[in-house]
Symmetry: C2
Subunit: 262 residues, 2 copies
């Protein structure tokens, strides 16, 4: 199977069988990929409100019923306990395990949140001829904690995490225009230019992902990032919070075009 | 005071003092008005998820902390128990009272939801020269229960309520374009043309508001409506659900332009 041309369901099955444990960028091209956050029901209201108040880092695509691992709106029949290549389990803010299967961790009170992902707008940018350095370099996008505070909601508060892509000014304008079509995939940039202005001391030292070069004539452009809940988890230290491993996303049945603003 | 030129805060104070008990359309022009829904904390997760799954009828602007009647994001310092002209109290789906003050009903476990309102896009339509029949006629917009099912969430399920405005085909296209800028104020229409196609038997008999004429060469255009939670309450019959009286909205500190998609 050429996993680039696979369907979302085929990628999920490969992950469930243990045949896919690596990252998902570039797989099932055209299918919407999603960030995963799982919390106990007693934290679900606060986390849902956190997403509602912070739609740029946390645009919600689906929320499961307590105890039911099926995301009925975006991938009926799928199982969030098995269908991602790799997970991260945080206990009191500490990363305690990176399992490839969540069945041992699953509980009847867990609620899963699926959150839009930058791959959706990256596909649209590439189709429009906007070059993306981390994809050319074959590495992960660089991500940074910022001094932009998310709007708090109950237990949840913390810094926004952003991803960065270096672009020419012309491509920055074009990218803004294109990303405006995808509010469910982080939408328009939150900043461009000086990293210090949003509390990033050194672009060469990302908090997540890999550094990429910013060339002469380019500006660093920053988007709100779906890794934000992981930074929030490290700050808030809830008893249990489970996510995907960065880059190892849930692939839905939705098409990128389904996420365009209506 | 000319209430048309008043600020949101001035309208709220007039309502709190009992000087304003009537409808709010046309007041504090340019300020965002909002639908109000109040439920006990034990229903708040289900209602929040209902809004998240049904963003066209229920675009959320603010959610209060349990027991605290201050909507901090959209009108810091305001008091949702007093600052609306009139309320509706539903017990088990029955309208039991239309108080002008909620202090007698308030409880420490109540959570208030503020939901975007069509007045925001109507102002934009009028500014663009799109005529609105119910405003010309000086009556309330007609609203109808439909056979469009909202996506259920926990306890909450029920039919979408729509508002209707008759427009020429050219103005329908223009209105769609303009309303696309305001996803937090119901966004683009959900239907135009045959009322029967969405389960409305007779345009002359709206379920809420007043009927208006559809003239030759016009089509009825339907938008998702913030009265939907009231129709849902009548269907679901929760122990307690409090709303504004239709047309008697909460006026925020936000400007209509603040709601434009970003």
């Amino acid at each position: 199977m050429d996993q680039r041309q696979a369907t979302g369901a085929e990628i999920r099955r490969a992950a469930a069988r243990g045949e896919l444990t690596g990252p998902t960028p570039g797989l099932a091209l055209g299918y919407v990929q999603a960030n995963l956050v799982i919390v106990p029901r007693e934290l679900a209201y606060d986390f849902l409100l956190f997403c509602q108040r912070n739609p740029k880092p946390c645009p919600l695509l689906d929320v499961t019923e307590p105890g039911n691992p099926e995301p009925r709106l975006v991938a009926p029949g799928a199982d969030l306990r098995t269908d991602l290549p790799c997970y991260r389990v945080y206990r009191k803010g500490e990363l305690v395990e990176e399992p490839t299967d969540l069945r041992g961790w699953w509980r009847d009170d867990l609620v899963a949140f699926l959150i839009g992902c930058s791959f959706t707008f990256e596909n649209a940018l590439l189709q429009a001829g906007v070059p993306l350095r981390h994809i050319e370099a074959g590495c992960n996008v660089p991500m940074y904690r910022t001094n932009i505070a998310c709007k708090p909601a109950g237990l949840f508060h913390g810094p926004m995490v952003v991803s960065m892509r270096p672009l020419s000014p012309t491509d920055t304008v074009r990218a803004t225009q294109i990303c405006a079509r995808f509010p469910k995939a982080h939408g328009t940039p939150v900043h461009f230019g000086s990293p210090q202005d949003i509390g990033i001391p050194d672009l060469n030292k990302p908090d997540f992902g890999d550094p990429v070069a910013v060339l002469a004539g380019e500006v660093p452009v920053f988007w709100a990032c779906g890794v934000t809940p992981q930074a929030v988890a490290m700050e808030v230290r809830p008893p249990l919070l489970i996510t995907h491993k960065p880059g190892h996303m849930f692939v839905t049945d939705l098409q990128d075009t389904d996420l365009e603003a209506g």
